[in-house]
Amino acid sequence: MDVMPKWADVILIPLISILLAAILSALVILAIGENPWEALKLMVDGALGSTYGWGYTLYYATNFIFTGLAVSIAFHARLFNIGGEGQALIGGLGVAIICLFIPWPHWSLALLGAAIGAAIFGAAWAAIPAFLQAKRGSHIVITTIMFNFIAAAVLNYFLIGALKAPGMEPATAKFPEATHLPSFQDMFNFGETTFFRGAPANITFFVALAACVALWALIWKTRLGYEIRSFGHSESAAKYAGISPTKIIMVAMLISGALAGMMAINNVQGEAERLVLNAVEGAGFIGIAVALMGRSHPFGVLLAALLFGFLYQGGAELALWTSIPRELIIVIQALVILFTGALDNMVRMPLERLFLSMRRAKNGRTV
């Protein structure tokens, strides 16, 4: 018997966690002599108050959806893929190569090609730790962390070498015009009123939404998803049923790496339109928090990604318009991660007890 109704588990707990993080953040802001209420207003206004703000929030959210989904699918196979950061970096390399060296006739084909390239590069990067885990028992947490550093080094190597554009910067050349993806500004332009002016959100957001739906169907409607979940819940049972652990570890990690890699079509192809150093900016790690908060469910991931998009954009605004230092923005984001991800049980236990005593009281009356 479940202790709590489902709605409490998926909505109430995250909501209370966010509220606690917000209260603590307010205290921190108060402590440095700023007005937390003003700060909150500024964040909401900056992230959601205009289509420009929304354009940034959704852009960040798109990144987090991809990396969050990547962590989620690995979670379902009880694999902790911390390598989203590195896989997204290498995915970016794939996007850059495909955009720079293939003469695409139209952006739609370029998007398709880049998405496939990003997925293959990301998956290939995840394949090595996956293979080591499946065949050699090397712990995937350790290997994926190490592969983040290796990925950064590989990118460095290419950006000061083979792919470097003329000039001082360690970056590739600008991608050709035909590969540029339509931004929200291009898509929602109705004569004199232009929405999302100057914001980086682009068509990739819809690819991310499609990925959510596709992953949901994969996990809960297909045999592969069934096998992945079986393996994740009980390896011994999976073996009994004839499900190959090697196959599941490999497949789950390949999908995970592919999703993380696909983030690159948003930030590299969609926004920067060239590949720069540290293009991922920590989105791979945020993906872990997003997956935790979203309970590894694709729709939960979507909501959590939107929240973190809001925090990112709101935080940037806060840093821009107040004397709250940039470091404090990171503290606030960390508090949200801490409460929603790490301190889940702190909220869950008392809430479970509450529901239990409520049910007891109810049963007591009916008996």
């Binding site: 018997m1 202790v3 169907a217 409607k221 297909t222 045999r223 069934y226 096998e227 979940r229 079986s230 819940h233 009980s234 011994s236 049972a237 073996k239 009994y240 049923a241 004839g242 499900i243 190959s244 479970e352 239990l356 049910r359």
Partner: protein
């Protein structure tokens, strides 16, 4: 303290009914109104019992009835939500196991708590050293062990390493540990689960000796026979409640079973003589070496025919599990297995559970919680488990037909009387018996040529045992071959049409159930084909210790 007890207990019939004190003698243990809840589950509900000194008190109940919880409260592992504990008439608080030991309570757990690479002596002393220096404690313990051995027939070799002695001796070490700590009250949790019949008899003799010396013993078990054999009084638990406390001499197995289950149950299996058909399974010279390099199966050969139940008896850890795993397709082996005359792959891509299933082998694994079911999955997801590639469960090439699986589950639940019949309930929410019925329904209704079934009624309530046995016999009567592995000799004897005994990875021989008995099978289980000279239990133990069989294999 001990002396005083011994005098008092010399009085016959120290027992009296709960709540009606008639003599001035204080009970060794009295629990009053103990309640304990884990989340929504009420594990113990207002339990009161009193155990008189110098008696053996049995606590019987099905798995999950709350026996172990109650004893864990008594030993300080859990804190009761309500209730009081009296030891020898003194109200005693037991916040931890140290307090329990100080109060004179010793506990022998089902899974022994011994340091494998320490000697017997070191294990006895561990945690009860007299001073910072070890040597004086050890020599005192050595003297004491000698006295205890003479007094109670508790023979151990003080210098043997635990990992090198048999399960029977390990259990005696646990008892000695408790006695060394001056325990007057000894609690034993399912002590015979890992013992052969001869060893169990020996244990009971030890318990009788302890009782004669005035110790109080609480025996937790689910075996009616043990209760009848050795206890003076017995308490029956059902769903967290104490349903009755009676004198053992005034009750009978059917009465106890009825108290445990709440309705009348059939303790015997009704079956017609087997109609034996053609050979279905032919195993020849099967060998398994596990990944630790231990030779688990040594040249095993046997046949199973259509319409026949072949029962494999043996102490847990003597190769039966590996045999099932090989046949089920998830352990590598050498040798030959033929099903319906066709050779089966033992290694390579075609040696997994999927290909075994398509060949017509169904498998009810020994451990349903680790293998047979995914405890977090809902019942309907578990019904498709292992058969999720079956065409009737697919909507298209890509998608599964979850609605069809649900419908199938509903029908199977109805046919196998799974309660509650809700396909959306997680497997962990069902009782042990109903979990087993879900597995059984899945495997039997595949209409297999060969059914592998391991420990079919382990952790299953008596009411469900009856049903499960009927289903197995019914499948046999349809002309299917059945390979039954069980550590319960009673189950083997009552279900099998032919019995094979395994010991140390080898087949010790086959017997017909009507021509053998527990005694003979017990010897075979210890690798002996003739009755040994001298005490049987010692010879048995010697054999099992050297066989490298480990109780650890049993989950």
């Amino acid at each position: 303290m001990i002396k005083g007890r011994a005098e008092k207990s010399a009085r016959p019939f120290a027992f009296k009914r709960t709540g009606a004190p008639m003599t001035d003698q204080a009970p060794a243990i009295e629990l009053k109104g103990i309640s304990k809840a884990f989340g929504p589950v009420q594990a113990n509900k207002d339990i009161s019992i009193r155990v008189m000194p110098g008696t053996i008190h049995g606590i019987i109940g099905e798995n999950g009835a709350g026996k172990s919880t109650l004893m864990s409260i008594l030993y300080g592992f859990y804190k009761a939500d309500a209730g009081e504990i009296y030891i020898s008439g003194q109200k005693t608080a037991i916040p931890d196991s140290q307090a329990a030991i100080a109060a004179g309570i010793g506990m022998v757990f089902q899974h022994f708590k011994l340091v494998e690479n320490f000697t017997v002596l070191e294990n006895v002393v561990l945690g009860a050293e007299d001073s910072g220096l070890l040597r004086p404690s050890l020599s005192r313990a050595r003297r004491e062990l000698k006295n205890l051995a003479e007094e109670y027939e508790l023979n151990v070799d003080p210098d043997a390493l635990i990992e090198e002695v048999g399960v029977g001796m390990q259990q005696r070490v646990e008892i000695l540990k408790a006695l060394y700590r001056k325990a007057d009250i000894l609690i034993l949790d399912e002590p015979t689960g890992v013992l052969t019949p001869a060893e169990a008899d020996h244990l009971f003799r030890i318990l009788e000796n302890l009782k004669r010396e005035g110790k109080t013993i609480i025996l937790i078990t689910h075996k009616l026979r043990e209760i009848m054999e050795i206890t003076d009084t017995v308490s029956v638990m059902r769903r967290g409640e104490m349903t009755a406390t009676v004198k053992t001499s005034e009750t009978s197995p059917p009465k106890l079973a009825e108290l445990m289950v709440g309705r009348k149950v059939l303790l015997r299996v009704d079956k017609a003589p087997a109609q034996i058909g053609k050979k279905i399974l032919e195993v020849k010279d099967l060998n398994v070496t596990d990944d630790k390099g231990v030779h688990r199966l040594k040249g095993v050969s046997f046949d199973v025919h259509a319409g026949e139940i072949l029962g494999i008896a043996g102490v847990a850890g003597n190769g039966q599990s590996e045999l099932l795993e090989v046949l089920g397709g998830y352990e590598k082996a050498t040798g030959s297995i033929k099903l319906n005359g066709e050779e089966i792959d033992l290694t390579g891509a075609k040696s997994d559970g999927q290909s075994r299933r398509t060949r017509g082998i169904s498998h009810v694994p020994e451990d349903r919680q680790r293998e047979g079911l995914i405890m977090d999955f809902q019942a309907w997801e578990n019904t498709a488990f292992g058969y999720h590639h079956d065409t009737e469960y697919q909507r298209s090439k890509l998608f599964m037909n979850n609605a069809a699986i649900r419908k199938d589950t509903e029908e199977k639940m109805a046919r196998f009387d799974v309660r509650p019949p809700d396909p959306s309930l997680a497997a962990k929410s069902f009782s042990g018996g109903n979990q087993q019925k879900i597995v059984l329904a899945r495997e039997i209704e595949q209409n297999p040529d060969l059914l592998l079934i391991g420990q079919p009624t382990r952790g299953v309530d008596i009411g469900a045992i009856e049903f499960i046995h009927q289903q197995i016999v019914a499948l046999r009567d349809q002309g299917k071959a059945i390979l039954l592995v069980s550590v319960e000799l009673e189950e083997i004897l009552s279900l099998s049409d032919r019995i094979a005994v395994m010991f140390d990875g080898k087949m010790m021989g086959e017997r017909m159930p009507q021509e053998t008995d527990e005694k003979e099978l017990g010897l075979l289980m210890a690798g002996m084909t003739t009755e040994p000279r001298g005490p049987v239990h010692e010879a048995v133990e010697e054999q099992l210790a050297t066989a490298g069989s480990t109780a650890a294999k049993e989950v």
